[in-house]
Amino acid sequence: MDKSLSQIKTVFLNELAFTPRKIAVSVTFVFFCLLWGFAFKGLIELDEFIKTDNSEKSGLFLGFLTWVLDIDPTQWVEFQKNGVFFISFGILSLLTTHYFVIIMTSDQTASEIGNRYFRYLITRCGRTEIFLGRLLTSLTIGLVAITLTGITAWGVDCFLNQATSIDSVLFVISTCFWVFWFCLPFVCLCSMISAWSGSVATSMLCSMSLAFLLPKVFNVIELRWKKVEGIKELREFFPGNFTHSVLLDHASISNLLVPLVYASLFVWVGLSIFKRREFP
């Protein structure tokens, strides 16, 4: 057991050190930062608009939010006038972060199954340890990306309000946690597909497709059985169907458990595949 943990730690640390050299991770991270740069600019304008109720510049961004989030921004003004910046940040995070995290973590094992690098590891280390070590690295990459956006959001809020509060810090921590929790099954899905496909392109495409389609499965079900009572409650049992309610202290136990169950399932399947697969 000690040896196993030590190997997981060794793989994890080695992978973490190698991560900046992975082009997919570095390039995606740059795009992730660029997107959030624009997003924060828009959120600052939104904040100004809400505070002054008059900003022509924010019209485009508001239109975008209304369309993407399917929420009327004026509603936020009514119930969360001082927290619109953070709520918008949280919802944007929930909506977009997992796609970036998927791209950054889709190649957990695929490329090195393809180029045979694993031949150097398999005689030295258990397959379980390799798989889990790399999964931990991917989760850490996702967590780092999410934490960076959280810290930036907190910094921007400090800049906007010229002050901070313990509530702001707690909200940022809570948002980062939920975004990470939301991403968790997708990172595990990536590990599963990566172990199965052995190809970076296939792994990325399959993970992105599934990440996009899985939440839509519920939409189809809802559409098909819309007259069935309680159908909406099923929403929470599909990964990727978090709502912004988690950001308004309306989180339920299923919000906690469902991602964990899916993550465990994907890890179990992925690990089984990785342990049984051949490395030709």
């Binding site: 190698f18 050299r21 031949r119 030295r124 030709p280």
Partner: protein, 338 residues
């Protein structure tokens, strides 16, 4: 159904490091290995030879746990190839597997050593040691992408020595290396062979003949021979005389009539030579003198005299034969029995 081919060192009980029973592997319709029964003794250098597609790399891949056996069983150091008990005890120089680009080879070796359970300090020392053994210490802080082909090969070879493994599998260790480096690699392998088993898959049969104690020959996925090198090449029983032109019938007849000679085989037009099989119980020098006496009598000039056939010749002969005739093959040309 393959034959069980194994041998033991005289008078010494040898535990097999590798034991396969009816081992087979197919990729779709292509059979890569079929009915391989093999017991490889410990503390030897063993060559694994055969033409392209014979199944050498597939066998290595199964022994290392990269591939699962299609059928049959395999034990490595008494365990299944994927057993945690084998971690760090078996290592491989894989064919065509790159080290990580952009990461210095020393860091990569330290990582490998840590995976094998070495402490960070020992891992660093071990990485330095193996890099020094392949003359790459100066390049240790460079990535594999900045090394030449030969250096990369040596680096890959070096990683297989990390942590004193009991069984080392070397897949084409000298492919693409210049003669000087090849010789250094051979010397290194010989040094490293003390107290462990090394299996070398290679097409460089001259190197294998020099380095190996025994050789397993694969052809079309089947094990066709496994014997000590000296036995395969028939060092004490065969004499090969390379001639300047095709041998005349008179010469071969005279040689075959010598009491020490068992049989005489002639080479073909492109390879003028006679292969003389002699009675192994008679003193070598007596036989040599008798045969050379015939050459002197007949005033035949020769280019080269060699004791034993080359491994390359034997492997070509053996792999050319039909299955089932593995141990009786001779040169394709005429044979005169005494």
């Amino acid at each position: 159904m393959g034959r069980a081919l194994h041998f033991q060192k005289k008078g010494i009980s040898v535990t097999p490091v590798v034991e396969t029973q009816n081992l087979g592997k197919a990729f779709g319709a292509t059979v890569a290995l079929e009915g391989v029964n093999l017991e490889l003794p410990s503390n030897q250098i063993i060559g694994l030879v055969g033409p392209n597609g014979a199944g050498k790399t597939t066998l290595f891949s199964i022994l290392s746990g990269f591939l699962k056996p299609g059928f049959g069983s395999v034990r490595v150091l008494g365990h299944s190839p994927l057993s945690p008990q084998l971690q760090g005890r078996v290592s491989i120089l894989p064919q065509d597997a790159p080290l990580r680009k952009g990461v210095c080879i020393r860091k990569q070796f330290e990582f490998f050593a840590k995976l094998q359970g070495l402490s960070p300090e020992t891992a660093s020392e071990e990485a330095e040691k193996v890099l020094e053994e392949v003359d790459l210490l100066e390049k240790s802080f460079e990535g594999p992408d900045s090394l030449s082909h030969g250096m990369r090969k040596r680096a890959s070879l070096a990683q297989s020595f990390i942590g004193n493994p009991e069984l080392i599998l070397l897949d084409e260790p000298t492919a693409g290396l210049d003669p000087v480096t090849t010789q250094k690699v051979r010397e290194l392998v010989l040094r490293k062979a003390e107290g462990r088993t090394i299996i070398i898959s290679s097409h460089n049969l001259a190197e294998l003949q020099e380095a190996c104690d025994s050789v397993a020959i694969l052809n079309l996925g089947k094990l066709v021979d496994f014997r000590p090198v000296s036995e395969i090449i028939g060092r004490s029983k065969t004499m090969i005389i390379r001639l300047e032109g095709p041998p005349e019938e008179q010469l071969t007849k005279a040689v075959s009539e010598l009491p020490e000679v068992v049989s005489v085989t002639c080479g073909d037009q492109g390879n003028p030579r006679i292969i003389i099989r002699v009675d192994g119980s008679i003193d070598d020098s007596e036989v040599d003198l008798a045969i050379l006496g015939v050459f002197k009598e007949q005033k035949v000039r020769y280019r080269e005299i060699r004791r034993g056939e080359s491994l390359e010749e034997k492997v070509v002969q053996i792999t050319k034969q039909e299955p089932g005739d593995e141990k009786t093959g001779m040169d394709s040309s005429s044979e005169l029995a005494n």
